[in-house]
């Protein structure tokens, strides 16, 4: 359950940023989570929803988790491909000597917040990405 650790860290970063921006409510948070980051989106959401309960800044925040697929670069042919783990195989030349470029990251992409007296509307179109409910590979 290291998702609890990560959720706590996400909240710490958000608190620091919101203080800098003088925001006092956060409405939504967008995370990008690689499918081989060893983080489970559902567990992350649960951890976030438990931790935010008594938090004035974050209690109303909705967590969006977008999955980032695995992208590899082949060390033999130089090809760049999206692959489906656990098959770390270059679809171009069949080599297993590949470097993972994407898919391991956990990025706090953006968030929306308000100041007292200000109300925010709907989410931006670009923040409404594909919600990730898929199982994540470890």
């Amino acid at each position: 359950m290291h998702e609890l650790t990560i959720a706590r860290e996400v909240m710490r970063v958000l608190r620091a940023s919101a203080a800098e921006e003088s925001l006092d409510r956060i409405e939504s948070v967008s995370l990008k989570v690689g499918v081989i980051s060893c983080l489970h989106p559902a567990a992350l959401r649960t951890a976030f929803s438990v931790l935010k309960t008594d938090d004035e800044l974050l209690c109303g925040a909705r967590l969006q988790v977008q999955c980032v697929p695995v992208v590899i670069r082949c060390s033999r042919c130089g090809g760049r491909w999206e692959v489906d783990p656990p098959e770390f195989l270059c679809p171009g030349c069949g080599s297993r000597r590949v470097r993972v470029l994407k898919g391991e990251e956990v990025i706090i992409h953006s968030y929306r917040g308000t100041r007292t007296g200000e109300e925010e509307g709907m989410l931006d179109e670009d923040s409404v990405g594909t919600e990730c409910n898929a199982e994540v590979r470890h």
């Binding site: 290291h2 995370l31 980051s37 770390f88 993972v100």
Partner: protein
């Protein structure tokens, strides 16, 4: 208002891991993370390894467990300087926990340091300690499917010790198939089939460690 952060949630941990790595490099210590499932034989591997290495160097071990000093006591009895971290429920060690221990260790006296993580093939994967290398211990009774089930862990390690090889005749596990499964997810992996109980097959691992110790001492 929308704020774009594009910041890694691991940043706090990755920065500390880099600091630990610099401290270890400056002190000329070769540090190796030891990972694996509970019961794979990580501590027994370290007991044999410490016994063999303390003949010509000073070895330290940081033991990570949810509770008890049991593992630290075991490697101490083998001749290592050992510090136990009790994570009190946490499923992995992180660079901050390790960094706190490093600050209180006399690193100048050490040649080789093992950081044995909590037994777990998932949570420790993304939390780097700052060690130069990572080793995974998996045991024959775990079967051949673990590399494919936990590819990130296997990809994060440079070497694998396949432990409990003395059970080869009584278990329906094909060592060649297991080797193939490991190489499917990590073609660069160095693999040594070993028996930690009797120290059978451990010489290649010892030599790999000695080479790392020489490299770290030279780079000091």
């Amino acid at each position: 208002m929308k704020i774009r952060l594009a910041q890694s949630a691991m940043q706090k941990y990755d920065i500390k891991a880099e600091q630990n790595a610099r401290l270890l490099a400056k002190s000329g210590v070769f540090a190796v993370d030891v990972m694996g499932s509970p019961g794979a034989g990580k501590t027994e591997i370290l007991e044999r390894t410490v016994e063999a290495m303390v003949q010509d160097m000073t070895v330290g071990v940081i033991e990570g467990d949810i509770c008890t000093e049991r593992d630290a006591d075991r490697v101490r009895a083998s001749g290592a300087q050992a510090v136990q971290i009790n994570t009190e429920g946490a499923c992995h060690l992180d660079a901050h926990m390790v960094g706190e221990v490093l600050e209180n260790m006399t690193l100048g006296e050490l040649d080789l340091l093992f950081i044995e993580n909590v037994g777990n093939l998932i949570c420790p994967t993304r939390f780097r300690s700052g060690a130069a290398e990572r080793a995974i211990v998996l045991s024959l009774p775990e079967g051949t499917d673990k590399p494919e089930k936990y590819p990130s862990m296997f990809r994060s390690c440079a070497v694998a010790l396949v432990n409990k090889i003395d059970l080869i005749d009584v278990l329906p596990v094909d060592l060649a198939e297991l080797t193939l499964e490991i190489r499917r997810v990590n073609p660069h992996m160095r693999i040594w089939p070993v028996c930690a109980r009797t120290a059978q097959g451990m010489e290649g691992w010892y030599e790999w460690l000695r080479e790392g110790v020489r490299r770290s001492a030279a780079g000091r």
